[in-house]
Symmetry: C3
C-alpha cells in the first residue's frame, strides 16, 4: 500500500489511510457459506474461522489457536467444538478452551476471541469491535430479507479495492450511463442531483423521477408497464450498509405500487480489499422464478461492473505514488463527501477511545 | 527494495537510493507504440497515458482522472479528448477537463498533468520535471535519426533493473568479451582504457583503435573489408542518453569512411526498473534491407545480453541485505564513476530546489 | 513480515523479530548438493554460492562479485576459481580476487567473503558469524554420521516458516498423535512430560518409557520384537541442532540394545523461512537396504508433516496483524520456553557485541 496515495481533499475526509471502523456490525458471510466445514475469512484485518455448531448456529472464532497460533480453520469439528490439529486442543463456541489432551487442567487464559454473530435472512452479521462493547441496538432491522411477504436474491464478490470507493460509487448516480450502459443508465440518472443530508449520523437522500418509461426487463420484474413515478431513497445507516429503496407507482394509478430494496454491504477485508455482499428484495412476483432470475442477473451484472471500476482505480493508487495528489470534487459527489467526513469522524472517535 | 543494499563507495556516487533526476527529457516510447489506442506506461514513478490526437500528435497525460483517480488509459478517445469511462469526464490534450456530463460548468482545478512531448524520428521524448521548468534547450539534437541521408533501426526492452547499472555498463568496454562473446568482444575491447573526462557537465571519452581486422558481418554492414581505423566516441549528455559514435576509416585509404551512431536511452520506470530504448544509425547501405536486418539483429542480441546481466545483478541487491557492502572499483570503471558522481550532484541540486 | 505479529509472552523469549544468531555453525547443504556446478543458497539472510574445488573440497563464497555485484553462482569454474561472467574476474577459494582481465594488478580489497565450511558425513557445515570469530570448538562431534559402525539416512526440505517454531515442535512430544497419526503417535507420547533443564547453556531432557509394545515396522528396523524400554534423550546444543537419541533395550534382556540418533538441523534462510535438514543414524541393520528404506520413508513422512504444520502457522502470522496477541503456554511447552529464552539471550549478547 502506498500509504499517502489517493488522499482526499480536504483532509478531514476518510481515505485509505484512515483506520477501519470496528465498533459496528458487518456482513461476514452469506448464510449458506457457513457450514460444518470451517471457513477462513479475513474481516477488518482479523483472521477468522466460521462454522456451524450441532444446532446449526453460526460461530465465529479468532482463527489462531491461543497456544501456538495454528489456524483453527485447518482443524476439524468435534460436536460443537473446533479442534486444533496440532496439539488436539478443543475450543468451544464461546472461544474458551474445552480440552488440552496433554494435561488435566485448562488455564483460564487459554481462549480465542469469539465474535458475536447474528443471522438475518441470507446474511450473517459479525461484531468486529471490542467484545465488551457489543451493541445489539446498532443492528439495523431489515425485515424485507426475512419476512414472508418479501422475496430476495443475494450475492457476494471479493473485491481488490477499498470499501470507501464503493460507498462513494453507490451514493453517486451520475456514473450509471457510463459504467452500466443503456439498460440501467437512463437519462434521468446522469443528471439527477439527489440532495444529501446528514440526519442522526446517517447520510440520506431521496429523489423523485416522474413519468419514467420502463423497459421490458423492468416491466417483467416489477409487473408494471405504464410510465411510472419512482421515488429513490438512499441511506447509509452504518459503514457496513448502503440501503437503497425504490418505490414505484403507476403514474396513472397511484394505488398500484411496488417496493424494492437494493442493499449493499461493503465489508472491509483490509483497507485496500473488500468483501462486497449485496441483496435485492421485492414485494412483487415473490414466487416467480423468472423474476427471481432476472433480478439476480441484472444486479450481479451491474455490481460486478462497479467492482471492476473500483479495482482499476486501486491500480492507480498503487502505481502513482505522488503524495501531493488530491482528488477534485464535483456536485454529484455531495453524498460521498458527507459520508467520508462522517467516517473520518467515527474513526477518530474510535481511535481516541482506544 | 532493500534500501541500503548495493550502495556505491564513496558515498557521493548515485545509487539505487538516489532520487531520480526529473528535470530532463527522457524517451517515453517508440513512435509507433503511440496510437489511437491509449497506452499506459510508468515513467520515473509516474503513471502516464499516451495517445495520438486527430492530427497525429503524441499526447501524454497523467493517467489518473482528476476526479476519482480512474486510469484514463482504460478510457476511450473522442476526437482529441480522452474520456474517463467512470463518469464520462473528458480531458483535452492540455490536460484540462473539457466536459463533465453531470453538470454545466467545469471547475478550473479539474485537470490532469499534461506532459510535454517531442517526437524525434523513432523516438518520443517526455519532460518529466516540473511543468513550469520545461526546458526545450535541454533536448539533444540527433539528426542521424531524422535526416534523409541516414538510416536507423530502433528497439525497446523492459528491464527489471535500475538505469544506473546500464549507464555503467555502457561506459565500460571491458565486459565485451565476457558478455557479448567472440563476435563483439574483440581483444582490443578487453584492454581498452578510454580516458573519460567531464566536459560541460557531460562525461566523454574517445578512443582510437588502428588497423582493426573486421569480420564478414561487420564488413557487409559497414561496406568495408580492409583493416580499418576506428575512432569510438562516447558521451552522456544527460541521464537519459548514452551516445556512442564510431567513425570507421579504411586504414589504407583515409578518404573512405563511414559513421555509425549507437545510442542508448535508459529511462527509469522506477529506481529498480528501466525502459531500455535504443537506436543505431548509419550512413552507408541506407537502402539495403540486408544491412538493416543485420544491424538490428546484432544490436538487439548484444543489448539483450546486457539486460540479462543487469537483471541478474538486481536479484543480488534484493537477496543480500547487508547494508555495509560497498562495490569495489577498477580502472575501467573510471567513466561510470565520474557519471555516478555527476548524477548524485544533479539529484542533490534538484532535491534542494524542490 | 508483520513485524509485531506472533510475539511470545513473556517478552524475553526469542520470536520472529529477534535477530538471527550468527556466531554458530549451521548445516548449509547436503554433501551431494555441492558439486562442480555452482549452487546458490541464502543462509541467515546472506546470498552464498557453493561449489567444489578440483580436490573435491566444498567452498562457500559471498554470492556477489566484489566489483559490480554480479551473482557468482551464474558464473563458471576455472580450476579452483569461480569466474564472474560480467568482467571475467576470478575469485579463489579464499575469496580473494585472482585475476582482473582488464588490468595487470589486483587490489587487495577486491575480495568476497569466504565462509569456513566443514564436511561431516552427509552434511556440510558453515560458519555464518564474523570471519574473525570462527570457533571450531563450537562444532559438535557427531560420529554416528561418519563412523563405519553406523549407517544413516539424510534429507532436506525447504520450509516457508521460521526456524524457532521447528525447535519448539521438536521439543514437544504431545503433538505426535495429532500430527503424525497412529503410527508414531503412541499413547505414551501425548502424555509424556519430559523434564527439561538448561545445562551448560544447552536445553536437555531424558525420558524413559518402559515395556513399550513395538509395531512390525519398528521391529523390522530396530531388529527387536519384544516389549522394550526406551530412553529418549533430547538436547539442543546450538541453535543449529536438535539432537534426539533413543536407546532401546529389550525389556526381558538388558544386553540386547540398539541406539538411534534422530537429528534435525533447522538452518534459517530468513527469519521466516528455513532450510530443514535432518539425519537418522542407526547401529543395527547397517547393511540392510530394507531397513535403510523404511527408516528414510518414516522419517521423511513425519518431518514433512511437521513442516506443513509450521507453514500453516506462518500464514496466520502474516494474516493476523494484531500486535497485542501473545501465545499462551502449557506444561508441555517447558522445553521450548527454556530454549526461546536462551536464544533471546544469545541474540542480545551478539547484538551487544556487534
Amino acid at each position: 500500500m502506498s500509504t499517502a496515495a489517493g488522499s482526499k481533499s480536504p483532509v478531514d475526509l476518510a481515505d485509505r489511510n484512515t483506520p477501519l471502523i470496528r465498533n459496528e456490525w458487518y456482513v461476514a458471510a452469506l448464510a449458506d457459506e457457513i457450514t460444518r466445514e470451517p471457513l477462513r475469512r479475513t474481516i477488518l484485518e482479523q483472521d477468522i474461522v466460521f462454522y456451524r455448531d450441532t444446532q446449526g448456529r453460526a460461530i465465529a472464532l479468532q482463527n489462531r489457536c491461543a497456544h501456538r497460533s495454528y489456524p483453527l480453520s485447518k482443524g476439524y469439528l468435534d460436536g460443537d467444538n473446533i479442534v486444533c490439529p496440532y496439539h488436539g486442543m478443543e475450543f468451544g463456541t464461546d472461544g474458551r478452551c474445552a480440552r488440552i489432551p496433554s494435561q488435566k487442567t485448562v488455564p483460564e487464559a487459554m481462549c480465542v476471541q469469539a465474535y458475536p454473530l447474528v443471522e438475518q435472512g441470507s446474511f450473517v452479521w459479525i461484531w468486529t469491535g471490542a467484545p465488551d462493547q457489543v451493541d445489539r441496538d446498532k443492528l439495523v432491522a431489515q425485515p424485507w430479507f426475512t419476512e414472508p411477504d418479501w422475496a430476495h436474491v443475494a450475492g457476494y464478490f471479493p473485491m481488490k479495492a477499498g470499501y470507501l470507493g464503493l460507498h462513494e460509487n453507490l451514493l453517486d448516480l451520475s456514473h450509471f450511463p457510463f459504467v452500466h450502459g443503456a439498460a440501467l443508465g437512463k437519462p434521468e440518472h446522469a443528471e439527477s442531483r439527489p440532495k444529501f443530508e446528514v440526519v442522526d449520523g446517517m447520510v440520506k437522500s431521496a429523489v423523485m423521477h416522474r413519468d419514467v418509461v420502463v423497459g421490458p426487463a423492468f416491466a417483467s420484474v416489477a409487473k408494471m408497464t405504464a410510465p411510472i413515478d419512482r421515488l429513490s431513497e438512499q441511506i447509509v445507516p452504518t459503514p457496513a450498509i448502503h440501503l437503497g429503496k425504490a418505490i414505484y407507482t403507476d403514474s396513472s394509478d397511484p394505488q398500484k405500487t411496488s417496493v424494492r430494496y437494493i442493499v449493499h454491504y461493503p465489508t472491509p477485508e483490509t483497507r485496500t480489499s473488500t468483501h462486497y455482499f449485496w441483496g435485492v428484495a421485492r414485494d412483487v412476483g415473490i414466487d416467480d422464478p423468472a423474476v427471481e432470475e432476472e433480478t439476480r442477473a441484472v444486479a450481479a451484472k451491474a455490481f460486478d461492473e462497479d467492482r471492476r471500476v473500483l479495482e482499476d482505480i486501486e491500480t492507480v493508487y498503487e502505481a502513482d505514488i505522488r503524495p501531493q495528489f488530491r482528488e477534485k470534487i464535483i456536485a454529484t459527489d455531495s453524498g460521498g463527501i458527507q459520508l467520508l467526513r462522517l467516517f473520518a469522524k467515527k474513526a477518530r472517535a474510535e481511535h481516541a477511545d482506544a
